[in-house]
Structure formats: C-alpha cells, structure tokens
Amino acid sequence: MVNQESEGRAPVVKRRQRHEGPEKHVIAFIFSIVLTLIAFAAVAAGEVNVAFTVILLLVMAVLQVLVQLGYWMHMKDKGHMIPIIFMAGGFFVAFLAIIAALYWMWW
C-alpha cells in the first residue's frame, strides 16, 4: 500500500491534511521547562526533607522523559507498538542493572 504511495505522486492536499502545527510541541517544551525548574528549585531551596526531595526529583525526571518520548519522538502516535516494546525492553534491562548493582553493593 505504501509502496504504491511512494511510486505514484502524492497529491498536495494530503500533505496539508497531515500537517500539524507547532503548538503541541511548544506546550510540551514549556511543560519540560516547568518540570526542570521544579527539580532545580527543590534542590536550590536546600534542606527540606531528603526523602521527599529525592522522590520529587525522580518523578519530575520520569514525567519529562515521558513527555519527550511520547510527543517529541512520537511514541504516543499509533503504529508505535514495536518501538514501545524495544524501548521498554531497553529501560527494563537498564533498570534491572541499576537495581542489581545497588542491591549487590548496599544490602
């Protein structure tokens, strides 16, 4: 189906339909900046509560990574099941390595 598309000439109208504006990405950018600001502000504020700050920082990082993978790398768009499996597999092994190393060293 798509091979035919590439061999024939795609009508101009189609490109207009598929085009998306920058608004969504600017919002994702502002959201990332806000998450970054919260993280740096939490640390700059000094000794509040160590456990709370650590959890806050990790949540901010995970949220920002999800925004970037989902919006900027289009993982939330349809047809991304295999990329999600690849990346989830990669993150799973990475996480496993971190947990195993920490477990090995500290407990």
Partner: protein, 208 residues
C-alpha cells in the same frame, strides 16, 4: 529502491517522506532497537555511578564539586536544541527544505554550546581543582558517565552537520528524509539521557 529524483520537489514529496519507502521505515524501526540498546548501555553506566558515587577517597564529594547554575543552563540549552529538531522535522513534513536546514543548523549550534559548557566544566574540575579521572572511584564513574553522554552529543553534532551538507547537495528526498528523521530521534534520546544525568548525578548529588 525507487528513483529519488522523481520525488524530490515539494509537489511530489510524500506527506511523511521518512516513511514513504520500506527502507525508510526499516531504518526507523531498527533505530528504535538501537536506542533500546543505548538505554541498556547508559543504564549500566548509571548503575556503576550509583554504586560508586560515595567512594570519593580524598577528592571532593558531589556536594562540594557541582555548581548548579551551569548545569541548569546546559539543561535549558539541550532542551531548546531538542525543540529545534522537532521544528526541523515539522519543516520536513511541509516539504520546506530551507527551513529544515535552518532548524537543523540551530540544533547543531545549540549542541555545540552545550558541549562547550561541558568542556568548560570538566576543565574547571581537572585543571583548576586537580580533580581527574583517577582521583577516586566517584570521579572515574562521573567522568565516564557524563563524558560518554558528551561523546554522544559530539557524535550527534557531526552527524547532523553532515546531514545538512547532504541535504543541500542532494535535496529533500525519500532517501535523505529517513536519515534526518533518525538523527532527530537520536538527538531527542540524548536529551532523555541528559534528564537522568542532571537528576541523578547533579541534583541528587546535592541532596544525598
């Protein structure tokens, strides 16, 4: 392979030129697998760093060493450069070769800015504070993890710069489009890794 020269004008370029050919789609899919592997690679470096981060020997600890305003500036620069590559892909989807080249150039320039600041940071530690790779287990793990990310930034800069050259020479076609798309994915991934670095290395280094 379809003949690219018949598809290289704005009128005939498919709406998503990076996915118009089987080769392009395969390239993108394979690149996701590569990024999954990269995640594992950085995961092991993070694991090493986390286990060794308190082994500072007689060198300074993370708390004494890191200067947050510099890290914050580097974070913003890399984030903006990631946004520039998003705009580049949007220009590519519009078939706008000139804008595509402009946004890619902006990505490269900001990447160079980031790299310059990282080199400044490392030089500050090594030359002014005498804190090198072999000072402590913490310093070895720190330079390996952050330096490896910096090497990725350097590679990305060279890659995208070469792609801009190819784009100018060969035009925006179904052959050049997947390459640019994949390079933009790589650039976003570099930003993703940096999010974990500034959180785990720099911010957590100041907290615990």
């Amino acid at each position: 392979m379809t003949t690219p020269h018949t598809l290289n004008t704005a009128e005939t370029l498919p709406p998503e030129p990076e996915k118009a050919t089987l080769e392009g789609r395969n390239k993108i899919l394979a690149f996701w697998l590569f990024l999954g592997g990269e995640a594992v690679l950085f995961g092991t470096l993070f694991a090493t760093f986390l286990t060794l981060r308190n082994q500072v020997a007689d060198g300074p600890s993370a708390k004494e060493l890191f200067h947050l305003p510099l890290t914050a500036a580097m974070t913003v620069i890399l984030l903006v450069s990631s946004l520039m590559s998003v705009f580049a892909i949007q220009a590519m989807h519009r078939g706008d070769k000139k804008k595509l080249a402009v946004w890619l150039s902006a990505t490269v320039v900001l990447g160079l800015g980031f790299l310059g600041m990282e080199i400044y940071e490392f030089a500050e530690y090594v030359i002014h504070k005498g804190y090198g790779m072999t000072t402590s287990a913490f310093s070895s793990a720190f330079y390996t993890l952050v330096g490896f990310h910096g090497a990725h930034v350097l590679f990305g800069i060279a890659w995208i710069a070469l792609l801009i050259g190819q784009l100018m020479k060969k035009g925006l076609t179904v052959v050049t489009a997947p390459k640019i798309y994949v390079a933009a994915m790589y650039w976003h991934f570099i930003d993703v890794v940096w999010v974990f670095i500034f959180t785990v290395v720099y911010l957590l280094g100041r907290v615990v």
